[in-house]
Assembly symmetry: C2
Homo-oligomer: 194 residues x 2
Amino acid sequence: MEPTRADARDNRARILEVAEDVFARGGSAASTEEVARLAGVGIATVFRHFPTKRALLEAVLVKHFDHLCERARGLADSDEPGPAFFEFFGHLVDDAAGKLAIIEAFTDAGGDAEGQAGRRPRELREAVGVLLVRAQEAGAVRADVRLEEVYALLVGVARAGAHLQLDAHVRARTVGIVFDGLAARERDERRPVQ
Amino acid sequence: MEPTRADARDNRARILEVAEDVFARGGSAASTEEVARLAGVGIATVFRHFPTKRALLEAVLVKHFDHLCERARGLADSDEPGPAFFEFFGHLVDDAAGKLAIIEAFTDAGGDAEGQAGRRPRELREAVGVLLVRAQEAGAVRADVRLEEVYALLVGVARAGAHLQLDAHVRARTVGIVFDGLAARERDERRPVQ
């Protein structure tokens, strides 16, 4: 029985990996059939592991967020908290279009944002908070900035990038302006009071 | 006949004004019936001026964008181009949740983004471009920033504000960080190269 179980595990992992890529590119328009074809398995095999499209998308989302959280936690131990924070911010922005497409597909398939996958964004936000505090302690990010604003900027640049279909160059320049705002240590007197 | 025509013009203006408010708050869930009731006219009067919900929403959107463009053009003559630019950026962000709700209702009603209302966002973008150039000439905004990035930041903060339902205070702090990034005149050496 052992090889069969190992095969099943391999199949499940391959299906998930292919599904992540297919739905990140295609969103709601992508199909489970396409996933099966590209994973080199029959549609029955996909449904044996994931009884519904929604179940498949939930597993893809959980995997995607877990991977992001893992990366954030890895960076939290960095000797250079400033670059670690900015690197992860940039990574989340670059990752956003695919992630938003998967979330859209999940929601369109009747996915429950409060279910298993719903907890993940909160964990990611907390992981960003840890990187922020460390970057602030290192003097790389302004001390008067709070996670609320940083998260709003993250979500904002990510959504603008996806909505306006910004190319990587414009996205990087936009992120650069935000980084300057976060790193600025002198207040500009000409800036209107908020 | 003259008073009747004037009445009709008054009715049309009142319906539009009420509809702007109703759909900005309610989005797709808001109804033409509610607009008629709050405008103090019969539903038949609404449909005489706007044969479909889509036609009503298109007129609301055109009016909303025209008003924004008008305000931007008024600010373009300001003696203080820096504050004028930042004021309008902040105004667009504060206005965004309502505008996005109207756009959503228009799209859900089968509205064509490439129609009459579709030209308006481009005109608004151009008006922002004029304010940006003037603010840069006045030395209030970094010379190396382009309209593409400024517009991405505008769309981003606006969408984050609506999506995360940020309160006015967090929204203002988020906008403040962007302003610092736009106004920064020294590059921070610790910022990773884009």
